[in-house]
Symmetry: C2
Subunit: 150 residues, 2 copies
């Protein structure tokens, strides 16, 4: 897809979008966890090695936040921005220090609103993938999208 | 519930947990958005007033991250920590500057693993609620829980 502004009318089921990349450091992982998910396996290398993660692992919410950054900065250019109503999220593998992530998305549904003719819901499945090709997060989000003004 | 360490065997469907509170400032909202969700309605008061939010609104992922902080620091004391496998999330209202949030959770299911006798899945529904009693986020999370060692 190009960089033009997209309305619901410009998008169809099966359309795909690929973002740029984002690298995460051990310091990033510990800083996010210190503020939002202060558990030993996200904060401390030694404690993480002895945990079921077997080494420092990021908070799943950190993976989600980086996914959002990638979608906002290099994902589909929706006319009113990336406006999430909610979704389903699965963390399939831990995000690790040094991981270089990108997001691959596919439109799985487009639902025009019955009550408000200017908008609809875009259902977008976004896989967050590391440099080894492993999916670390699988998100199916419901985004508000606007219709092209008449 | 008290502060003892909880295993799957100590928890039953219908158990509830209430966290402490967390206040969010406009500066917090803009800082999180600057790093993870750089869109005008999360970053700039003027742009936010003119957006469909009608004023500065936090990223939904910021609400999710604060919810995690509250669950980790004052939610159920699970034996191995709060280990999310995934879940379903809905943002029902924007989180605003000055909001004071807490989380009310209820156990909706407990699923012992068929293949690994030492663990299971706890399905926890967590509503994130502001100082007006409005639910800003409704999360149903699947958490890994361990069984009490024999």
């Amino acid at each position: 897809m190009g960089h033009e502004t997209l309305y619901l009318d410009d998008i169809k089921v099966g359309d795909t979008f690929t973002t740029g990349t984002h690298e995460v450091s051990a310091a990033d992982i510990k800083r996010f966890a210190g503020e939002f998910d202060p558990q030993p396996f996200h904060l401390d290398d030694e404690a993480a090695r002895e945990s079921m993660f077997g080494g420092l692992a990021a908070s799943g919410w950190h993976t989600a936040a980086i996914t959002m950054r990638l979608l906002v900065t290099s994902g589909p250019k929706l006319s009113h921005g990336v406006l999430g109503l909610g979704g389903e999220i699965q963390w399939t593998k831990p995000m690790r220090p040094g991981d270089v992530l990108h997001v691959e998305s596919e439109v799985v549904a487009l639902i025009p609103s019955r009550s408000r003719s200017d908008r609809g819901v875009l259902v977008l499945r976004s896989k967050t993938i590391n440099q080894h090709g492993d999916v670390v997060q699988d998100l199916t989000a419901k985004l508000l999208v606007m219709r092209r003004p008449a």
